[in-house]
Amino acid sequence: MAASSPRVPWFVVGRGLPPRRASALMALAFVLPLALWGAVSYVPWIWHPMVEVVEAGATGLQEGKQYGKSDFQAANASAALEGREPAAGRPANPVFLPAPHEVARGLYRVFTEPPQLRDDIWFHESVGHSLRVIFWGFFWSCALGVPLGLLAGTFAVVARLVEPPIDFIRYMPAPVFGALMVAVFGLADAPKVAIIFIGTFFQMVLIVANTTRRLDRSLLEAAQTLGASRRQLVRHVIVPGVLPQLYTDLRILLGWAWTYLIVAELIGAKSGVTAYIAQQGRYFNFDLVYAAIIVIGVIGLVTDQILQHGARVLFPWQRGEAGPVTRTVWSWVALVPRGVMGLVRRLRPGPLSPVSGRVDVAAS
């Protein structure tokens, strides 16, 4: 790589990177934190502020438990003073920082280990529950917020009527409605859905209204000189005109919905992934806690990537809209079939090879 691009500087204001360098940096962005985590976990003299007792001796410390370094040394010192057998221990990290391999095992355990108590739920059940709450909250938010936002962005009358109260409400943190929603909707999922709705709806109306107002006004004028009526302007110019940006807005608001999920799951009866994670934290199963967090992150990333890719399919007139993550991920995905094809070609020397050979010649 150094040989291929000796002259290209690394820091250039306002310009992209060569593709190979870009994807190398992307990989590094994942590998570096992992390496740091690994170093802290596996190299005994880095951090490790605790001591895990291997053999208690006659110190009164408990085997398998963790103690602060100074406490451990104090116990051993007093034991030595009184001629008792000292304890043996090895340096350890606090229980809230499991090593990478433990979390990796946790990613398996989180799906296979049955719940500790009969009333507890499986992890995948808790994820399913969370997704349901998000879906319905966001669904109602879109169903009401998008049309209202479009109307407010199109007609000043609606904007004047609707936006001031919404501006007032949106600065109230969604959690303050928790008790109220439970009182109104009871203890089941309905108040949780309502919290997600409250968290996203008011923002959505304002954002969609703003997006609508940002539509190029000259397009509306052009349509008017082509004879479009008021209704036709909305249907044939405003709606298709704002659609791509609206899609992006909703993608970002979906991220907000995930944020409000925590609040929603804490009110009334704890539920969903929040309940699962809280439960495992109480059992000190931090490997499972991290595994659960990672699964949530992966779900979020995958959804977002799918939605980003969907935008390119849905709005073909907008080219080159994909962000850096999308581009790299899809270039990696594109490598898979190429690799598979290469393998197939190599493994099957039969009737395929002359064809592929001819193709190679033609290509070169």
């Binding site: 000259s218 004028e221 000189t225 082509l226 007139w317």
Partner: protein
Amino acid sequence: MSRPPDASPDPPPSREVGERLARNRARPVVLSIRSLEKRYEGSDGSFLALRGLHLDVRHREFICVIGRSGCGKSTLIRIIAGLEEPTGGEILLDGKAVHGPGPERGMVFQAYTLFPWLTVRGNVVFGLKMAGAERERAEYEAMRWIDLVGLGGFANHYPDQLSGGMKQRVAIARALASRPRILLMDEPFGALDSQTRTRMQGYLLKICRRVDVTVVFITHDLDEAIFLADRVVVLPPRPGPVQHVMDVPLPRPRRREHLLDPTFIRARRHLDAFIHEDEPDDEPEVPVHGLADEVRDVLEF
């Protein structure tokens, strides 16, 4: 009509041109602008953009409106299009007053304003669809207009995939597809490079020969105005009645060679006097301060 003192009289048209102009004058008036006034009310007082403007445009005429920047050319065409309401006077189309925009007054904007989510065909179909035309019929009509502007091979392209000149041809086809009585063009070629602009002028004249349409064309380019127009209308620098109307003494069809024709040059000089009247002839000499000695030597040499 006021006239600057140093302006030569209108260049005399040849016999052939004179006959054509006479034929033009005999045609019925399509667009009539009656004592038009436009006043903008702002927070810091009002601003008068147009005042006491009269103009008649006859059927199949090609009118170019010129004037100094800020003289209200664009305001005028936007009022004709119905995108702005006048504060006084009226616009008559075929003798009937018009209010608000409508498809009988097609408009081509400088900024293309094609719908980016529609293909070339979709853009041209748009007006017909708004008028409730049957889909198949509309598509067929649209393709004829697309072919007319020479973009038959690009019907399924999106506007973003086209060059500036091609986009403007689509915009012309889109405006013409609604069969307007009058085509309004607001500096349509202002954003194009000079070669493309020259080509577009040729296209436009060719289209106008084949289509039954009257054109009002705003420009600040005198050569463009003379090359395209039957009549050039000069708006005054400050709001007031039309300052001057010149019959262009050139035969049709127009050709590039006309730009070097003595008649053309005389017409140009004639209009120049209106546009650049009471502007200082030469730029005042600016003393060269603060330059290094070597640079000054080079400059003075």
